[in-house]
Subunit: 223 residues, 2 copies
C-alpha cells in the first residue's frame, strides 16, 4: 500500500492525488508540513518538498511530483494521461511544467506564503501588494487558458491529460486562498467546473487547512 506524504494545500500533492484517483490506485495520505523541516523527512527528501510517495514493503521511495506522475503512467494502464504521439506528449509535459513552475512561482507560491505560512509559522499579516501581484498574474494565466481553449477541447489537445490535472491543481489552491477572479474568463471557468465535478477531484475540495477558510464558491459547481 502506498503512503503519500502531503498537506491539503500543496498543489503538487493535489496533482498526484487526482492522478491516483483517476487511475483507481489506493493510498494512505499522511500529513507532512514541509515548513517544519523534520529531520527524518529531510533525510528522505533533500529538497524538503512534498509529495513523497512511499511503499515500505517494496522499499520504493518516489520523490518529485512529475517523477511520481511519470511512474504512475508507466506502471498503471488505466486513465492514461500522457496520450498521443511523441509531439503530443511533449506538449502535455511542456504545459505541466508551465503550471508547476510558472503558475506556481507567479501565483500559488506567493499566496501560500502570504496567506498560509505567514499565518501558521510567522503569525504575521499578508502583504497586500504581493497579494495584488498574484491576482494580477492569475488574470494573465487565465487569459492563456482561454487562449488554449479557443483551439482545443482540453488544455493540451483533444483529450484530458496531465496538463489539465496540473493546471486545475494549481488553480484550486489559488482559488482556496482567494486569488482567482473568474470575471471575463468564461472558457476557463467552464473547463474548471468540469474538472471540479470529477469524482477524482471533489473529495480534495472538501478538505480544509485548519484556520484558513476558502471563499464560499470554492466547492460549488455554479461559480
Amino acid at each position: 500500500m502506498w503512503q503519500l506524504l502531503q498537506f491539503p494545500l500543496c498543489p503538487f500533492s493535489r496533482k498526484v492525488r487526482v492522478l491516483l484517483a483517476e487511475k483507481g490506485v489506493g493510498y494512505e495520505p499522511v500529513r507532512e508540513h514541509p515548513w517544519e523541516r523534520r529531520d527524518e523527512f529531510l533525510d528522505m527528501n533533500p529538497t524538503g518538498q512534498v509529495p513523497v510517495m512511499v511503499d515500505t514493503a517494496r522499499k520504493i521511495v518516489l520523490l518529485d511530483s512529475m517523477a511520481i506522475c511519470e511512474y504512475l503512467e508507466e506502471t498503471v494502464d488505466k486513465a492514461a494521461m500522457l496520450n498521443g504521439t511523441a509531439a503530443d506528449r511533449a506538449e502535455i509535459r511542456r504545459l505541466v511544467t508551465w503550471f508547476d513552475v510558472h503558475f506556481y512561482r507567479d501565483i500559488t507560491a506567493l499566496l501560500l506564503h502570504e496567506r498560509m505560512e505567514k499565518r501558521i509559522v510567522h503569525r504575521a499579516a499578508p502583504d497586500a501588494k504581493l497579494l495584488r501581484e498574484a491576482m494580477k498574474a492569475a488574470v494573465a494565466h487565465l487569459d492563456y487558458i482561454d487562449y488554449l481553449l479557443d483551439h482545443r477541447t482540453w488544455l493540451a489537445g483533444s483529450t484530458m491529460s496531465l496538463a489539465d490535472l496540473a493546471a486545475a491543481s494549481q488553480i484550486s489552491i489559488a482559488d482556496y486562498l482567494g486569488g482567482i477572479d473568474w470575471k471575463s474568463h468564461e472558457q476557463a471557468k467552464r473547463w474548471y467546473v468540469g474538472m471540479k465535478s470529477r469524482p477524482s477531484f471533489r473529495p480534495l475540495l472538501a478538505e480544509r487547512m485548519p484556520g484558513i477558510n476558502p471563499p464560499t464558491d470554492y466547492e460549488t459547481l455554479d461559480i
Copy 2:
C-alpha cells in the same frame, strides 16, 4: 533537420545538446538571447526560455528542456538515458529536476545573472556577496554528488543517465563562470572529468560567450 534555439551558457540547452550528440541526432544551433525578449521568440514560447527545438518541415515546435529530452528518449533508440525499472526511471527524473531546479536556482542562475547578464545587459559589476553565496551552495551540491557516488557508479545508478547529463551541464556553466572549487571533492571531480572527456561534451566546452572568459582549467581534463 532540427533547429535548436540556444546560447552557449544556457545549461538547459547544453543538456539537450549533449543528449542530441549522444544519440547522434543532427541539428542546426541557432543563437537566441532570451534577455532580448524578441517578439517572434515570445510568440513561439511564452516562458521566454531556451532551448526551443523546431522542425519547420514537419511543423513541430518542442518547448521545455525536459519535454524535449523525453521526446528524444521516446523517438530515438540509440543511447537511452532513462533506463531500468519504473522506479529507476523515477530516480533519474528526480535527479534531473534536482539539478535543473535546485542547482540552477542556488548556483547557475545567480552566476549567470551576476557574471553574464549584468555585464551584457546592465553593464554593472557583480555583487560579491551573491557570488559567495553561489560558491557556498556549490560546495553543498558537490557534497551531495560525492554522497551519491559513494553508493553508485553514476549519479542515478549503475549506468550513465539523463541525471549525469543534467548535472554536468549545470556544473560546466557554473565552472565557466568561476563558481566551482573542486578542492575536497575527489569523487565528484573524477566523475566530472569523465563527463568532460566525452565526444558529446567536448565541442560545447570549446564555445565561448563573447566578453566572458572561463578559468584556465575549464576545458582541461587534469583539473
